[in-house]
């Protein structure tokens, strides 16, 4: 075990983050980083960026995968399994009940207000989370340019993001980044 964080505390904290992560993984990235790098997890920024990259390029729900891999690193396989279950369970139950509630009140006014109010906050959180990760991942000028180009390509040309990941991964493999 590394740092001073215990597997139980890590599992509970990740379960909490999973339940409040509006906008997906991006919005909780800063919190995860603060917890496992800055505060007490004993990981370095470079290791944290590795976790992010691995979760992005492998199949499956990358949000849970990243937390599970951090759990494996800090507390071994049992912590990894505990985190996978703890980060999946509460949101799933919430999704199921939200589905039934939403279907019952499909035409209600409050649904529109909730959506119109929450969407902009969510967008800000997603963009902010990406910016925090860029700050950690872009350790040289080429990587910073890669981040800007990837964002511009996605916004401007709407090309499949998979190609952007493959291209930048290949460029990294041959030592350009």
């Amino acid at each position: 075990m590394r740092g001073s964080v215990t597997p139980v505390a890590l599992t509970l904290y990740f379960a909490l983050l999973s339940s409040i992560s509006i906008g997906g993984l991006a919005s909780v990235l800063p919190d995860i980083r603060d917890y496992v790098v800055a505060a007490n997890g004993g990981l370095s920024d470079a290791e944290f960026a590795n976790f992010f990259a691995i979760a992005q390029m492998l199949p499956g729900p990358n949000f849970i995968l990243m937390m599970t891999l951090i759990g494996w690193r800090i507390g071994g396989l049992s912590t990894a399994i505990a985190i996978a279950l703890a980060t999946l369970g509460p949101p799933c139950a919430m999704y199921y009940f939200a589905f039934r509630l939403w279907n019952r009140f499909r035409v209600a006014r409050w649904q529109r207000a909730a959506r119109r109010g929450l969407v902009p906050v969510t967008i800000g959180l997603i963009t902010g989370g990406g910016t925090v990760i860029a700050h950690v991942a872009d350790t040289n000028l080429q990587r910073a340019i890669t981040t800007v180009v990837a964002a511009a390509l996605l916004v401007g040309l709407r090309i499949n993001p998979l190609w952007i990941l493959i291209a930048s991964g290949s460029a990294g493999a041959v030592g350009f980044l």
Binding site: P30, A55, F63, L65, L118, A134, A150
Partner: protein, 158 residues
């Protein structure tokens, strides 16, 4: 990214629902806390077959991919000393950060004429990037206010 493949399966290949229904589910799940594609699996499953469908869909969507991802992931973490893998990870994380930012910017486009929405997006962005406040605090501070203003303005408007 997985949403691209999920849409292909659900809408194009199996024709379980049309694009409109799928888009509604996807956007709702994105704006709810939790891993959004897990939410999509639960919602698609429950719409088709109720609770049984939700559990079946969720199992298919998580157990096998998570197992494969975990095995490959631990292999990568054990081998991060390899220069080539280090290069790939560096390139991928730089690009993935850009893709996350780009996704946010793309979602913002429909709101370009809504100053109130832009302000709340900017506040959330600034709160996360500059103030280093925990996410929960930012959400508690901004979400109720933003929803209240949206409710008032839609009650006044057409």
């Amino acid at each position: 990214m997985a949403s691209v493949f999920a849409r292909r399966l659900v809408v194009e290949q199996r024709r379980w629902m049309d694009d409109h229904d799928f888009a509604e589910i996807l956007s709702l799940c994105q704006f709810m806390p939790g891993p959004s594609l897990v939410g999509v699996a639960v919602w698609v499953g429950s719409r088709l077959r109720g609770m049984t469908g939700a559990i079946a869909s969720l199992t298919g969507f998580t157990v096998i991919p998570l197992t494969i991802g975990f095995l490959l992931g631990t292999w990568c973490l054990r081998n991060t000393h390899l220069a080539m893998l280090q290069g790939i990870l560096g390139g991928v994380s730089a690009a993935a950060a850009g893709l996350v930012i780009g996704t946010g910017l793309r979602l913002l486009v429909p709101y370009r004429d809504h100053p109130m929405a832009l302000s709340f997006a900017a506040l959330a962005f600034g709160g996360l990037v500059f103030t280093k406040l925990p996410l929960l605090i930012i959400i508690i501070a901004l979400a109720p206010l933003s929803v209240a203003i949206a409710a008032i303005s839609s009650a006044r408007g057409p």
